[in-house]
């Protein structure tokens, strides 16, 4: 006992035993409540006094009590947790849940970002794939055209025709290769660029009947002249060829001036 701690160890034991009552009991409890050291000493005194419980004759509760207890806690289920901080330990379940939360929240965010990135990347890949398919179709078309040209020029029944200018002192010239079986005409020549809203139109003059259009065309630059391929009706007998200047889009019958012409037989 000291000035700071006016309670003797024996008094703590007597208080724990419950033999001190009245005002003395209240004063002692008031001091213990405000003094950490006396509070610890009182906890130890309560422990020593509690051992008197062993003086009681041995008795065991019936097994029904255990069953009733377990039945009751099952019926209660898991009560809602209180908001007060736990005193049990730093390793109880709740900190473990917090740890998992601290893992799952950023993991979910990373997963969401990765999903958006993959989705954008997937869209980009789709676009690229579509462009590649279009390019492939273009190359396939071009390859088919080139094969047609090779077949056209290599075919034994492809014929050549020279077309002469109608105007005197004109340097215009044109040469045709045609194949009535394949329905193709290849033009090469050096015709001037047509005026605005005008284009050249090729005519096949059959042995019998009116001139047949072999299509309108704008000659493309090719070496020192121009070259283009046009379609012609298949299986007709050609008497001659002529090229006229017609309105853009072509005409069903020749209307413009004849620029060049030549014998097809």
């Amino acid at each position: 006992m000291s000035a700071q701690h006016p309670i003797r160890e024996e008094d703590l034991e007597l208080l724990a035993l419950g033999v001190i009552d009245g005002e003395e009991c209240q004063n002692l409890r008031a001091h213990i409540a405000s003094c950490a050291e006396c509070s610890r000493n009182f906890a130890a005194a309560q422990g020593r006094v509690a051992l008197f419980a062993f003086a009681a004759p041995s008795h065991n509760p019936s097994s029904d009590v255990r069953e009733r207890l377990l039945k009751k806690i099952r019926a209660e289920g898991i009560p809602a947790r209180e908001t007060r901080p736990e005193k049990l330990s730093p390793s109880t379940t709740r900190p473990a849940i917090r740890w998992w939360n601290s893992f799952w929240i950023p993991a979910t965010a990373i997963l969401a970002i990765a999903t958006v990135f993959l989705w954008v990347n997937d869209r980009h890949m789709d676009d690229q794939l579509q462009k590649m398919r279009e390019t492939e179709q273009m190359f396939e078309g071009e390859m088919h055209h080139q094969r047609e040209l090779v077949s056209f020029f290599a075919a034994g029944d492809t014929k050549a025709v020279s077309l002469s200018p109608k105007a005197k002192n004109s340097s215009d010239w044109a040469r045709l290769r045609y194949n009535t079986r394949m329905g193709m005409v290849c033009y090469t020549g050096d015709l001037p660029t047509p005026p605005p809203n005008k284009e050249y139109q090729m005519w096949i003059v059959p042995i019998v009947g009116s001139p047949i259009s072999a299509g309108a065309f704008m000659p493309a630059a090719f070496n020192n002249g121009h070259m283009c391929m046009v379609k012609m009706p298949e299986g007709i007998s050609c008497k001659s060829f002529a090229i006229t200047l017609e309105p853009m889009g072509g005409m069903p019958h020749p209307t413009g001036p004849e620029i060049v012409s030549g014998n097809g037989l």
């Binding site: 419950g18 033999v19 422990g47 006094v49 008795h59 509760p61 207890l69 736990e86 049990l88 109880t92």
Partner: protein
């Protein structure tokens, strides 16, 4: 699981309480098997009524189930709290008082001078306490029993026994000294 199995279960009270916090029913059952005999024997000695003692026992373990997270192992031991709370509640029932507000897990700290988690420890302590109390003079033993099991104060014991108040105080103090000496 019976009581012996609960006592011999190697898990510490502390780890079992952690599992009770997580609502592990088997952990509470193990604690019950470990300490229900001690608590019930103390309670029925005070109340002398099996039904009332069973109610006290069940209430205490329900309180552990509901508020185990409040238990601070640094402030005491579980069997210490059980013995003190069972005594308080039983004496209160005996005297028609309500003492529950004073034995919350957070309010009552009890540090036992020994570990009661094993059956061997419990049996050894039981033998030593009975031997120590058996060696006390009748006056001292009766005064301690009236104080502990019936919750009487010095003056009440003097009134019951007819002994002078000073004598009662001496009996009790001497008995406590003897107990401490025998247990250290």
């Amino acid at each position: 699981m019976n009581r012996a199995q609960g006592i011999e279960n190697g898990a510490s009270d502390w780890s079992l309480l952690e599992r009770v916090v997580r609502k592990d029913e088997s952990a509470l059952a193990t604690l019950y098997d470990r300490y229900s005999g001690l608590v019930y024997a103390e309670s029925i000695r005070i109340l002398r009524d099996a039904g009332a003692a069973e109610e006290v026992l069940q209430d205490l373990f329900l309180q552990i189930w509901r508020t185990a997270e409040k238990f601070d192992p640094e402030r005491g031991s579980l069997p210490g709290w059980l013995l003190v709370a069972a005594r308080n509640r039983s004496i209160s029932r005996l005297r028609r008082r309500d003492s529950r507000a004073n034995d919350e897990l957070t309010e009552t700290s009890v540090v036992l001078p020994c570990n009661l988690e094993s059956a061997a420890a419990q049996n050894q302590l039981l033998g030593r306490i009975k031997k120590t109390l058996g060696s006390l003079p009748n006056g001292q033993r009766e005064a301690i029993e009236l104080a502990y099991f019936e919750g009487m104060s010095h003056s009440e014991i003097a009134g019951r026994t007819g002994a002078p108040l000073g004598t009662v105080k001496t009996w009790i103090r001497t008995a406590m000294d003897t107990l401490k000496r025998e247990l250290t």
